[in-house]
């Protein structure tokens, strides 16, 4: 589908693409903050379940980076 917004001289999907990429960049920063926060919390309270919790936070960050990379290539 090719939506033209003639008066702006740009295509609507290009705008969506920019929004998606900017949004995902912000999300990656958020995911980094999550990793730092989880590291800090696991250092604050150690109960023997730190590795899976840290792993989940890292998985979330890699997922965010992966989504950004996929978006960059296919959009």
């Amino acid at each position: 589908m090719n939506l033209d917004i003639g008066w702006l001289g740009v295509q609507a999907w290009s705008l969506v693409e920019i929004f998606v990429l900017v949004g995902l960049t912000v999300y990656i920063i958020f995911a980094i903050v999550v990793v730092r926060q989880v590291n800090h919390m696991t250092n604050t309270l150690e109960v023997g379940f730190e590795t899976p919790v840290r792993l989940a936070a890292w998985m979330h960050l890699f997922f965010a980076i992966g989504t950004f990379a996929v978006s960059l290539f296919i959009l």
């Binding site: 903050v33 919390m41 150690e46 109960v47 989940a56 998985m59 989504t67 996929v70 296919i74």
Partner: protein
């Protein structure tokens, strides 16, 4: 003559409290937990109890997460989806599952790190409000003035969980342990610790 066996940690007052030492890192009621380290405690301070919200309180977000995981399947019934280019559909799906993962992680961490800790000297309330905000409050056991147990619904009565409200004479007037399992036992443990603290004061063993 046979010597009376000395009680170990976690067995003190066991006949009154009927509480056994808990195992497992994911338990909501952990009495004299092993291999636990909380950064705010002193070296001699012993962790008596770690509390989290009752596991049943996770049911609401668990169902929401399940709905979020399955939601994209329902999209095939909507025709407007076909008007969106395939590459955008893929990205939308990835973003959706990324948000779902973030939601699950946030809710789990909120349960896991929102802990109430009772040591032999203090009570701590660790509030992990969201992924970027947390708060740790503490009060000395000897400053506790009143402990109130509140169990107020059918579900809470059925699963034996409720709130323990601790009035203190410290800067923080009230510390709340919300939706914790076995609230009566928590109150009992606090009472025992307060009595123990009073004894220590009278005997001049105050740290």
């Amino acid at each position: 003559m046979e010597k009376p066996e000395r009680k170990k940690e976690g067995e003190r007052g066991g006949d009154v409290l009927d509480v056994k030492r808990s195992k497992g890192a994911l338990t909501a009621f952990s009495y004299y937990p092993k291999k636990v380290h909380f950064v705010a405690t002193d070296r001699q301070e012993k962790i008596v109890l770690i509390l989290r919200r009752h596991p049943i309180t996770n049911l609401t977000w668990g169902i929401t997460a399940l709905v979020m995981v399955l939601a994209p399947l329902a999209l095939s019934y909507f025709t407007f989806v076909d008007t969106i280019p395939m590459n955008y559909q893929v990205v939308a799906l990835l973003v959706w599952y990324m948000i779902t993962l973030a939601f699950i992680i946030e809710e789990f961490l909120s349960w896991f790190f929102n802990v109430n800790i009772i040591t032999d000297e203090r009570v701590f309330d660790v509030d992990f409000v969201n992924l970027v905000y947390r708060e740790i409050t503490d009060a000395n056991i000897d400053l506790i003035q009143d402990v109130t147990v509140r169990v107020g619904s059918v579900v809470r009565t059925m699963f034996n969980y409720g709130d323990v409200l601790i009035q203190t004479a410290s800067e923080v007037p009230q510390i709340e342990f919300l939706a914790v399992p076995k609230p009566d036992k928590v109150a009992l443990i606090l009472r025992e610790l307060r009595v123990e603290e009073e004894k220590e004061k009278l005997e001049g063993r105050v740290r």
